[in-house]
């Protein structure tokens, strides 16, 4: 007697081929790696003193002046190390701060100064370009 060995239908299911899934997932990984940024973005409000009538009220007589140059910074014409900036700005006794950006100062220095002012808890901080001084 001859015996036919047949596997029952429906039981022959093999594991599905996962290679296309892997292809897609690898492409997704590469896409997200290229597109996404991992650095955290911050925004800082900036208050400028407008030229003209506002400039006179923006720089009251008792305000402290922080001048930024490429060589460093001066607080009330005294040289100031960047490491001492926050501590010095915290000792202004409520005087408003005017940050004067010199022509050769990089933008990073301005952000550092705004950072230090914020860390020192100053609320009245104004920024102006150097040309306005003495006008």
């Amino acid at each position: 007697m001859m015996r036919l060995r047949m596997t029952p239908p429906g039981r022959t299911r093999r594991a599905p081929d996962l290679t296309p899934v892997m292809d897609v997932v690898f492409i997704l990984v590469v896409f997200f790696l290229v597109v996404s940024t991992f650095s955290e973005t911050l925004v800082k409000p900036m208050q400028v003193s407008l030229p003209g009538s506002a400039a006179s009220t923006a720089s009251p007589a008792n305000s402290a002046e922080l001048k930024l140059t490429a060589q460093g910074m001066l607080l009330d014409r005294q040289p100031l190390a960047q490491a001492d900036m926050t501590a010095s700005l915290a000792n202004l006794d409520g005087r408003p701060l005017v940050i004067v950006a010199g022509d050769d100062a990089p933008y990073q220095l301005l952000v550092d100064a705004l950072d230090a002012a914020q860390a020192a808890g100053l609320s009245d901080v104004r920024v102006q370009a150097e040309r306005e001084v003495g006008q």
Partner: protein, 138 residues
């Protein structure tokens, strides 16, 4: 006299290397990248924003309300490359009430007075709030 060992021939695996652990790892990698990274619209030109320690966290800023300044001084606002045209466009939008806050994304090496003058000009166009964009210091 020599003893002869006959070891059974190792069985060849029926299928190739097990692919399942690899898939697990790659899926985990995908999840990590999706959760840790932020998808942001690309800058119109190469620029590295300044680093800051303080500030408000803002992962998604509207590129339509962002003014880009490259290290060369080149600016870009909604595809407009001339500074005068950009300021006119911003003033129009501000007058129409469609734009009141603007984000300034500038390179860290742009001269600071240029940024200050630009913000002054923006204030004169009627923009009430200008924010400087920076990256958190590592």
């Amino acid at each position: 006299m020599s003893a002869q060992f006959t070891l059974p021939r190792p069985e060849r695996r029926a299928r190739g290397a097990a692919i399942l652990p690899l898939i697990n790892v790659v899926f985990l990698l995908l999840m990590f990248i999706v959760l840790a990274g932020v998808v942001r619209s690309p800058d119109p030109f190469t620029l590295s924003p300044p680093q800051a320690a303080e500030g408000q966290q803002a992962d998604a800023t509207d590129p339509e309300a962002t003014l880009y300044v490259a290290q060369s001084g080149e600016i870009r606002f909604r595809g407009v490359t001339s500074e005068a045209d950009a300021l006119v466009a911003i003033a129009r939008l501000a007058a129409a009430g469609e734009l009141d806050a603007l984000t300034l994304r500038a390179d860290a090496n742009v001269p600071a007075p240029r940024i200050v003058k630009l913000v002054e000009a923006l204030r004169l166009t009627g923009i009430t709030q200008v924010q400087l964009q920076a990256e958190r210091k590592p």
